[in-house]
Symmetry: C2
Subunit: 362 residues, 2 copies
């Protein structure tokens, strides 16, 4: 087994084996899934080396494609971000990011504690020049042809002012271009109504700034959108603060999960409905696949020097593999470098724009 | 036909016949549905009298149970609330509220423009003593035994400070007690995590204030809840600001509607799945009924001198009838008076509590 951290011709993903709800075996199963589908991928795996070596040895497809970094400590879901930043140097999460920082991997994936991962990422990878608040972007099932919309921020920070929202628009547009191959994404700014006089003051200001930048940053500005447009087709990228975004996606997830459970119950109701459910099974599986959160698992941290994908804590092997695929796609497209260039070129202009009185929505 | 505004032994609901997407015929069909089911209900109907008389005359069940108030003007969905407040005196919406203000009806129902209805309600009915910001409360399908949770505010105001959130908790508890017959409702405060150190500053302050009042106001405080708990079973009443609440319910509605459409598509896919859908039809209808937004149509304005129910603009007769049933239930329980007493008794204490340093979440 080679111990070279980056293997020739392959894109290397740094993977935190620890911190997920179902342990390192699931993470190893996930990277094996990815390795099976993708000959161009290699891994640096972080956690208790002996244990990980045993798990990896069982998967023939991983032979020669995994390098180990032994870590004695783990970040738990209960750890406070501030604690982890102070004393988390021996954790697998820290080590996972360190490999990206040193340029030994093209992107990082972790199933661990979101707050700690963001805090560590900000400290170790640093924010891109011109970015005030990094954001977490996720994909949400939608009526658009691509099947999904990008939404950000969904919880990196509970606050966002007008300039932050403009940065989110720029970063979200870049992500949609590189992660979803949309040449000219449509950006929507989340509000409680689509009329320009509605909503909070910072939203009116952000509306003016984003529409100012649309042409230059090569996106279309769809203006204000509402919660119903997150799964809709009016925009490809939904921009909002991390508090609102986090509540919105969790409400959507909770509602979808309730409907799923009620659907199962409804089909158990009578012998006839049980028969129907047998006949309907492929239809229901088709639907499930279309909106399966595991298929789009992975929140991307935007605004940092390096790509970090946060996989869901409860992800199974399919979910982990989806998060790794996302990190791979972004690495392959040179997303981190393109985003850095985009943000740098507009940062100065945004600075200027902030002093121009807003035109719209007043 | 008697022209007495309140008919002996009956509860009278003041209904705005105009402003809904599908016109007065739908509203009249809705009140006829309610009249059919409920012998104890009567109506004051507002709009162009001649037209309304013709529509009502076609419904035998409405004979002797409707009084008319002729109005020449209508509030449209495009009208700005400030305009309506200034010059809306001839509108059916204004007249609908006026009947409640004068004590000629026990509650009001309108399908019209939400912003205008709230602005007019505040001006004509006035806020309850001790209430700073009135709120709109809706019911959301949930995993709780009662099948629904109360959520407020969903859009009366885009802001709410800690004291407003405390008022929402008190009003929401009262609503759950009178509208849903829950003796001791559990109140949850919406945040991005359940840990007490998380979220915005005003939420930590509200956490302390609400937990201070729980015992006295006869509710249980479930602490911070997340978006996933809105359709969940951790709380019966979800308290949040009107911006977040509005985005959350619209995201939930949009996601539910997307799933519904994808389900229909999935069943059209093949001859086998079409057969399955025929067999499954009663199961699906059972599910649909359980989460049908028409069955729980009606946002209740809380914190005013009088009960106002906002029906969805796109409501059909079933939806209008559900909104009327809600207004009836609240009127019958003496909700407006109980809420006024509850708020008055706690207003002074809340005033004091605001000067006490918060205990929890610090």
């Amino acid at each position: 087994m080679t111990e070279q951290p980056t293997q020739a011709g392959r894109i290397t993903i740094s993977v935190d084996a620890m911190g997920g709800d179902s342990g390192p075996a699931t993470v190893v199963a996930g990277i094996a899934k990815s390795a099976n589908k993708n000959p161009d991928i290699a891994f640096v795996l972080h956690g208790p080396e002996q244990k990980l070596r045993k798990l990896v040895a069982k998967r023939r497809v991983l032979q020669g494609r995994v390098v180990f970094r032994d870590c004695t400590d783990v970040v738990t879901m209960e750890d406070k971000p501030s604690q982890v930043v102070r004393s988390g140097k021996q954790t697998s999460m820290w080590s996972t990011l360190e490999t990206v920082r040193k340029g030994e991997a093209h992107g990082a994936v972790s199933c661990g504690n979101t707050g700690a991962l963001m805090a560590l990422s900000m400290m170790r990878l640093r924010k891109l020049p011109g970015v005030n608040r990094p954001a977490i972007a996720i994909l949400w099932p939608s009526r658009n042809p691509q099947g999904f919309n990008v939404m950000l921020d969904v919880g990196a920070d509970v606050r966002a002012d007008a300039k932050d929202l403009l940065q989110y628009a720029l970063m979200g547009a870049s992500y949609a271009r590189n992660g979803m191959a949309l040449d000219r994404p449509r950006i929507g700014l989340l509000n409680v109504g689509t009329e320009e006089h509605k909503g909070r003051a910072e939203l009116k200001e952000a509306h003016a700034m984003i529409s100012e930048f649309a042409e230059q940053a090569n996106f279309d500005f769809a203006g204000f959108v509402e919660g119903s447009d997150i799964p809709g087709d009016k925009a490809d990228v939904i921009v909002t603060d991390g508090f609102t975004g986090n509540v919105a996606i969790k409400t959507g997830e909770g509602t979808a999960s309730l409907i799923g459970d009620l659907l199962r119950e409804a089909f158990k109701y009578s012998p006839l409905s049980r028969l129907a459910s047998v006949l309907a099974i492929t239809s229901l599986q088709r639907l499930k696949k279309r909106i399966d959160p595991r298929q789009v698992n992975g929140g991307v941290f935007l605004g940092l020097n390096g790509t970090v994908v946060k996989s869901h804590g409860g992800a199974d092997a399919t979910g982990v593999s989806a998060a790794i695929k996302l990190a791979f796609t972004l690495a392959e497209s040179g997303f981190a470098e393109k985003l850095a260039a985009r943000v740098a070129s507009t940062a100065q202009l945004a600075q200027d724009a902030a002093h121009v009185p807003p035109k719209a929505g007043e």
